[in-house]
Subunit: 166 residues, 2 copies
DNA sequence: TTATAAAATGATATAATATAACATTACTAT
DNA sequence: ATAGTAATGTTATATTATATCATTTTATAA
């Protein structure tokens, strides 16, 4: 019943995550006649560097370090790239962290929810049919028309549970 | 199956909401040997003035208008009152609005979720057993240990749906 | 191919939300 | 009454995000 899940904290070849994400971004942009400019691409790559959501100013700092080409890319530019990527569905905003993370399942029509580790901030993206139907049913019963949803579960990932014990 | 719901947008005697909330706050503070100081009480009252979540600086402004006793209560004081009320479970933080709303069911042990109108921001507090069990089951299956949750459904309340049509 | 419009980025300033740090005041309990 | 704790006052500043206008780049049509 777990339709999708990318469990950040399980071992996986993360280079593949990045390559796949970038490739998918290129295809999607081509299809929708949107331009994946160098700035947008490097912002996406920076966000995909980990499964920890990244704040906008973290991205600014990261670019300053990794580009070291004299001129710094400033906040508004990063926010514009973020907006572009959000609109295309290539990244998610994690509201409770004010941070951004790569979207693992752009093809997924269900709404996603997130398992966010309070300690290491690693964030897993999931989606179930059930969750969606409960939300829709409950809302409908009260006459409320659902548009979007923010479902963020905060707790401890397996690794940080371990380290708390030891 | 809808365990609780306070449907902000349904007609109700809101004065009663406020009176009940304040009374409950007094009792709870007494029980837990916490002090419901004048500032904390007026912040709670201000938040309860409507079923729209209120930003911290909205509260600051409100107090300036309604107290008009020379000295303004400043942001840190309001944030401290907010923290106190959050800890006691008397208010909720609505993450997607950076705002605070009175808690309708402090006795509810389930976790709450919110139906938030995109236009008028009226916010209904709900909770169902089902939602909780899905979240717990999904999380457990991945080895994630749930602590808290943010479930905010954004859409249109019945009233704003009407007004969109007309 | 160049002129032109549209899109993207640069640059500066500032809004909005939240907290740190330390001083002062008020309350509680002996 | 007084010491110790809790709450509030005050100032400064951190953090996240956006508005505005200038400049550059890209796409396209004459």
């Amino acid at each position: 019943m777990l339709t999708y899940s990318r469990l950040a904290y399980q071992a996986h070849d993360h280079q593949r995550c990045i390559i796949t994400a970038l490739e998918r971004a290129r295809v999607l942009c081509e299809e929708s006649h949107a331009r994946l400019t160098p700035i947008r691409e490097i912002v996406l790559k920076t966000i995909w560097a980990s499964h920890q959501p990244l704040g906008a100013y973290d991205i600014v700092d990261n670019l300053a370090l990794n580009l070291h080409t004299g001129k710094r890319i400033k906040a508004p530019t990063v926010y514009r790239a973020i907006e572009f990527l959000l609109n295309l569905g290539l990244i998610h905003r994690i509201t409770s962290l004010n941070a951004y993370i790569g979207r693992s399942f752009p093809e997924n029509t269900h709404n996603d929810f997130f398992l966010i580790c309070r300690i290491c901030h690693s964030t897993a993206e999931c989606s179930t049919e059930q969750m969606n139907s409960i939300i829709l049913h409950t809302a409908e019963r009260t006459g409320f028309q659902v548009e979007t949803q923010v479902v963020e579960i905060i707790g401890l990932c397996p690794k940080c549970q371990q380290e708390k014990v030891s």
